[in-house]
Chain length 433, copies 3
């Protein structure tokens, strides 16, 4: 009953707005000003009932200023189910925080801060949401970041502005604009997987598309069955089994249960194995930081906007004003790790192994080489100062300092600290000789 | 009248040549020798009126030697408008100078030198035209360079040799063979942009292709509206506004004027911002050269074919026999910079940011790291020689030498030189003590 | 007669098996359990005559255990010609040795060892077959390696499991899943070559696909006309001319003989020129090994599974636990070299030059830079120890040691060794002074 009432109201609203549009006020100019938009609307299933003002309103000044965007909320007035699925999925996570958090956006609306921050606090509410914010210019943020990171509030991201032809959004290429590139090439890996090959040869009735598995039945909940959160972090363990069952329910529309389970479990294991490689690299860089060998040192670089002079290697890691070894780690974690794991879940051998696993291992070689270089130059420095200052103890004192830092950041326990300190001190020549 | 006369002459010529072809002299053998060529010609709109000899002539020996190529001039005899648009566009710039200039091509026709050089001069007429010339072998020049850099004189580059079906040249893939890859992936960035996605789903009537925007109405002036010259150099400022208006006239066939202007202006700004990153890297390398820290040093490498022992970081930069830091710069400028800017103008977020801007920033990290490494090894060298030769002045003398080089290449003014020299000298211990 | 008899037997066999299938025992459950498999079989040319058990047998337990795979041998029972072409081509080489050889596969069937090894021997029968074996996990081997390296025994690799529609295997995308990526991007280079562009615009009747040239007339001998073996090794010289003639016979279905010969010969030359670049890099790394400058040194890394503490730079080279300079070489040889040469043979300028030749040259710059770095740090080490130990001879002694190693690995002859040793000794200060 309630539902019928709502439907009735919607129709009335539509009619009301459409009458305005029918006055042809908009079309008169816009056939000249934005010919494609008019033509596409005319060919769409919105025309003629849902006119311009139904979505854009009638305040022309506001429209021009960008104050009356035809955003997801507007679409949601009619497309309720899709809207709710969309906003409660990963697409609704608030990925535009790259925009909201960018430090040097001059024209930032202060209300946007509250999206990530409690009022008066510079700390983000969650660490996931603020993973992306660099000293980006507003132009790069607009063309480079938010062309994708606006999805939570822009149905046009996928549907385009005025076309309602579902051929656009059913095309896997439609997902490519955002789900491509070095950080998450899902489109590329699907395209050359067996799924993509079958689609290429026989169409979507045989070859599953992005939408077949991630938007089954036209659902807008793109997170259905996904056991991965942004920045390659997994959801709480208690949520994972349920999500996996969701995905299995999709795989088994074609595949045997045992096959689907085995494939996804193998990918789970590859995720864990890949994480071990990341941890190995991370430990090397943390140790270099303990020894103050990073160039530029944490003291000699611009502060991290949220974490100050801390070494940041997690999802909030930056890729500018960092040391060479951290930049190698950025590539390894953000690009190679993602390709390995997403390649495994998307059944693409070249991404899983060559673009993924092999690159991780080779970047780890590079990271170890850089660490060896930095430690070697440290050793020569010690040798030089040793000879110059005539003190045999200085390297040992430095080593004790490193040990203290490890204890302070929790890498070793207080007990381990004591033991290793003792071992170091025993190497000292007996001063009583 | 003049036009009618010309058309009449052309028809006569065609008829004359076609009668020769009709003698079937060519086909008799070529149905066996080059079956696809014959079949394609037979299915083309040239057949049967425009026969083999109309384009290839009748001197079989000359044809075999390559002395009678069916080149752009031959096509231009009939396709006058297209020919003139083509040769006056960037496609007619003489991009084959990679071929003309390559130092070690044995079989080079000396007359080709005059394409780039005044007679008797080794200096190029313009710096743009000779941007590409390395110690390339003739085979690499043939298969690697001139398969693309022959476009000014080869309509077949896009149209193929005997097919006249416009489906080939209307296909955006047709542009891919040359406009792809690390240095200018326009095809890749279009394909995954919204423009490419719409083309994929709904064809060229809705999704703009390369040709829709850069060859509107079938024009062969591919430079229409382009505000960029080869090697990412911009045309003179007085030309840019006119060219921009040309491009806007194309964008507004679909988009609102304000939107088109805003988008292109944002890309302009990204171009400037990216140039700043390039300049930052360039300054680091110039300083390393001032300090003679490049390995191999400018003295210890083969001379640059045009510029001798000079450090070349502009469009004539080579990518062999250079130092590691220059090679990083080559990647940053030739690949990352181009991807950022072309990505912005082609509305591809992943190219603008991840493949472009992020790579530039990370390569800048690498360049700074290499500079730090080279300077550190220099410092140890100084320390060693300092201790060995007992002279406190040597590092200062070196620093003065560096300062002189900076003045000589115009990096600092004479006044700045004096000031900085004075500052250095004041650091000297008082010898009268 | 023999042939007719065979055909008769086959029909009988088919009928026999199909009757079992017709009992609908399988379908009853499998319409629920593996709906896509059933649907695809029903739509295939196998149905209804060739039922489930014709390929899978009737031992359900064995099927579930993986002991009754519907592998190439099973297909070969009916598709004899294709099977024999397949197993005698490169696709039948036994590429799954990545699987058979991987050291740490727990569940390895010991009989598999004999695929590569004489019983009781750890030496591989040929060096080509064991080119790939790392400390890979079984999960990475399954999803990353053997999804492709199972081709010798899996027709489903290309044909899929139950679809018999030739549109799948005639699609060039079908080859992409394996023939893509950094090590051999044949699909990418075909797609953007003129061949691929013509296919895109006009289909396979005009644009040659992978299959047009490498599986002409539906042949399953994918090696026909190929003058290259795995790991970029060429077949014996006496075989090459015959293979080249095979390929020429395919090219001349469209192209003039002289053109085809010239193109392929140019590619041959590019192969040789590229090999020279590889040898230059290889010599640098061998010299670093002679000087014991690799980090980690050969003594300080896990043993190579087949070659122990030897420096391995050939097809058995690993990409983990190696030095930075070896990892650069791996990229240069495995990725850049392959792109250059395969790019030339597939007429793709961007792969031949930018992704290939230019990358080789730039990686060579990087390799030289790393060698210079390692040698410099060696020199400082010598200088330090020289001053400390007061011995002028030590660097000379080291140089003699290097010379000995070069003689031992056959890089210099005994005569050259004597000469260069003499030259070194003459540099010694006269001790009698």
């Amino acid at each position: 009953m309630n539902r019928l009432l709502r439907l009735f109201c919607l129709c009335c609203l539509s009619l009301f707005f459409s009458t305005i549009a029918f006055a042809d006020e908009c079309l008169e100019c816009h056939q000249m000003e934005t010919p494609a938009a008019v033509k596409q609307w005319q060919a769409s299933s919105h025309a003629p009932a849902i006119g311009c003002s139904a979505c854009h309103g009638t305040d022309h000044e506001a429209i021009l200023k960008g104050d009356a965007p035809a955003d997801a909320k507007v679409c949601g007035r009619c497309h309720e189910k899709a809207y709710h699925e969309h906003v409660s999925s990963k697409h609704g996570l608030g990925l535009h925080t790259g925009w909201g958090c960018t430090r040097n956006l001059e024209s930032r609306d202060p209300r946007e801060c509250r999206f990530c921050h409690e009022e008066g606090s510079t700390q983000p509410k969650t660490s996931i949401q603020c993973a992306r914010f660099l000293t980006q210019t507003s132009e790069m943020a607009a063309l480079g970041c938010n062309r994708c990171h606006q999805v939570e509030n822009s149905c046009a991201s996928c549907h385009t502005n005025h076309i309602t032809d579902l051929a656009v959004v059913r095309s896997p290429a439609s997902c490519a604009t955002c789900h491509m590139g070095p950080d998450h090439p899902q489109w590329e890996m699907w395209q050359t997987s067996r799924h993509g090959v079958l689609f290429d040869a026989l169409g979507e009735s045989v070859g599953p598309t992005c939408q077949s598995c991630h938007m089954t039945g036209g659902s807008h909940d793109v997170s259905f069955g996904i056991t991965m959160s942004p920045a390659m972090i997994q959801p709480p363990i208690e949520e994972r089994a349920g999500r996996r069952q969701e995905m299995i329910s999709i795989c088994t529309q074609c595949h045997a249960l045992s096959f689907a389970e085995r494939e996804l479990e193998s990918a789970d294991v590859i995720l864990e194995q890949s994480r071990e490689l990341i941890k190995e690299a991370e430990a090397i860089i943390l140790d270099l930081a303990d020894r103050d060998l990073l160039v530029p040192s944490l003291q000699n670089r611009p502060e991290h906007p949220l974490r100050g002079q801390e070494l940041v290697l997690d999802g909030q890691m930056l890729y500018e004003d960092i040391s060479h070894v951290e930049r190698l780690f950025f590539k390894m974690k953000k690009y190679d790790f993602a390709k390995t794991v997403k390649g495994a879940f998307h059944q693409n051998p070249a991404y899983t192994h060559w673009y993924g696993n092999a690159e991780m291992k080779m970047t780890l070689v590079d990271i170890k080489a850089e660490a060896a270089r930095l430690q070697k130059s440290e050793v020569s420095r010690s040798e030089v100062s040793l000879r110059e200052e005539g003190s045999a103890y200085q390297p040992l004192e430095e080593e004790l300092q490193v040990l203290k830092r490890k204890r302070d950041r929790g890498a070793i326990t207080a007990e381990e600290y004591s033991q290793r300190k003792q071992t170091l001190l025993e190497k000292l020549p007996d001063n009583n000789d």
